[in-house]
C-alpha cells in the first residue's frame, strides 16, 4: 500500500509534537505538477497575520492562529474548536526549499513547493 503513496511530501510521524495545547489538524490536499507540489490546507478563520510557516531543514510546520472573535456576544452553541491549527510535513530533498511560496485566501493556505531543476522532467535532444 505504501508503494502508491507519494513520498515527496509526507506527514511527520510525530505530528502532534510541540503542540502546547490540543491542536487541530488542517485538512490538506497535495497535488503534483511537472514543476512543483501544491499543498492546500484548510484553516477557516485564519488570515495572513495568524499564519506561520516554518521550515527547519526538511521539516515544514504549518501553524494557523485564529483571531479572537466578537467577545460581546454570548456563545450559545459551539461545534468549532478554539485551538490553533498545526501540522508538520517532511519534504523530500528534491524540493527547492529556497523557492517555496505561500498564499492565504478565504481560509485556505496554498503553498507552492517547487521541484529542484535537476529532478524536473527534461527532454534530451539527440544530436548528430
Amino acid at each position: 500500500m505504501n508503494a502508491i503513496a507519494k513520498p515527496e511530501v509526507r506527514e511527520a510521524n510525530n505530528r502532534t509534537q510541540a503542540c502546547e495545547r490540543a491542536c487541530l489538524i488542517p485538512r490538506v490536499n497535495i497535488t503534483e505538477t511537472k514543476d512543483a507540489y501544491l499543498l492546500e490546507a484548510e484553516m477557516p478563520g485564519v488570515n495572513k497575520n495568524g499564519l506561520e510557516v516554518l521550515l527547519e531543514g526538511n521539516e515544514l510546520t504549518l501553524v494557523g492562529r485564529r483571531q479572537s472573535e466578537n467577545v460581546e456576544a454570548q456563545l450559545i452553541y459551539r461545534e468549532s474548536s478554539p485551538t490553533d491549527f498545526r501540522r508538520v510535513f517532511v519534504l523530500d530533498p528534491t524540493i527547492d526549499t529556497g523557492k517555496i511560496k505561500a498564499e492565504m485566501e478565504n481560509g485556505v493556505l496554498t503553498l507552492s513547493l517547487p521541484k529542484a531543476e535537476k529532478v524536473r522532467p527534461r527532454k534530451i535532444t539527440i544530436s548528430g
Binding site: 500500500m1 490538506v28 497535488t31 503534483e32 511537472k34 477557516p44 466578537n70 450559545i76 468549532s80 481560509g107
Partner: protein
C-alpha cells in the same frame, strides 16, 4: 438540528488510495488529543460545515466554517424559523498534467439546516464571508428580546 450527509466525489482516486486515506483517517482519530475527537468525527459527516451560534442583545449570530469558497457559491435561506446554509465547493482546475497525491478536502455540494432558538426578523438578515468563515446576523424580533418588567407596588 438536522445533519445532512453527503457522498464525497472521489473522482480521481483508485480504491487503493481510498483505503490509504481511510487508514490515515483512523490513525488521525486515534492519535488526536481527546478534545479533537468531535471534530475528527467529521469524517462521517464530510462536507457539512461546522457551526457556532452566538447571541447578543439584538441579534442571533451564526458562524459557519467554509474555507476556500466563492461568495457566490454560498446560499443562505430562512424558512419558518429554520436556517439553511448550502452551496457547492468547486474543484479548481490546476492545469493539465496534475496528479493528486493527497485529497482530504471536501469538494461538491453540502447543506446544513437547523432550527433557530428564537424568532428573527427574516427581512433584515445579513451575511458576510471573510477568511473562510460565513457570518449570518439575524436580528431578533421585539418579542424575543429580553424585557424589563417593572414591578409596581400597589
Amino acid at each position: 438540528m438536522n445533519l445532512v450527509r453527503f457522498h464525497r466525489p472521489d473522482l480521481w482516486r483508485s480504491p487503493f488510495d481510498q483505503l490509504t486515506n481511510l487508514r490515515e483517517e483512523i490513525n488521525r482519530l486515534l492519535e488526536s488529543p481527546l478534545g479533537d475527537l468531535d471534530r475528527d468525527f467529521e469524517f462521517f459527516n464530510v462536507g457539512s460545515p461546522v457551526l457556532d451560534l452566538y447571541e447578543d442583545k439584538d441579534n442571533l449570530i451564526v458562524r459557519a466554517e467554509l474555507p476556500g469558497m466563492k461568495k457566490e457559491d454560498i446560499d443562505v435561506s430562512l424558512h419558518d424559523g429554520t436556517l439553511t446554509i448550502s452551496g457547492e465547493r468547486k474543484v479548481e482546475k490546476r492545469g493539465e498534467d496534475v496528479e493528486p497525491s493527497r485529497s482530504e478536502r471536501f469538494f461538491g455540494r453540502f447543506q446544513r439546516t437547523f432550527t433557530l432558538p428564537k424568532s428573527v426578523e427574516f427581512n433584515k438578515v445579513t451575511a458576510t464571508y471573510k477568511d473562510g468563515i460565513l457570518t449570518v446576523t439575524l436580528p431578533k424580533t421585539e418579542d424575543s428580546k429580553p424585557k424589563q418588567i417593572e414591578v409596581k407596588v400597589s
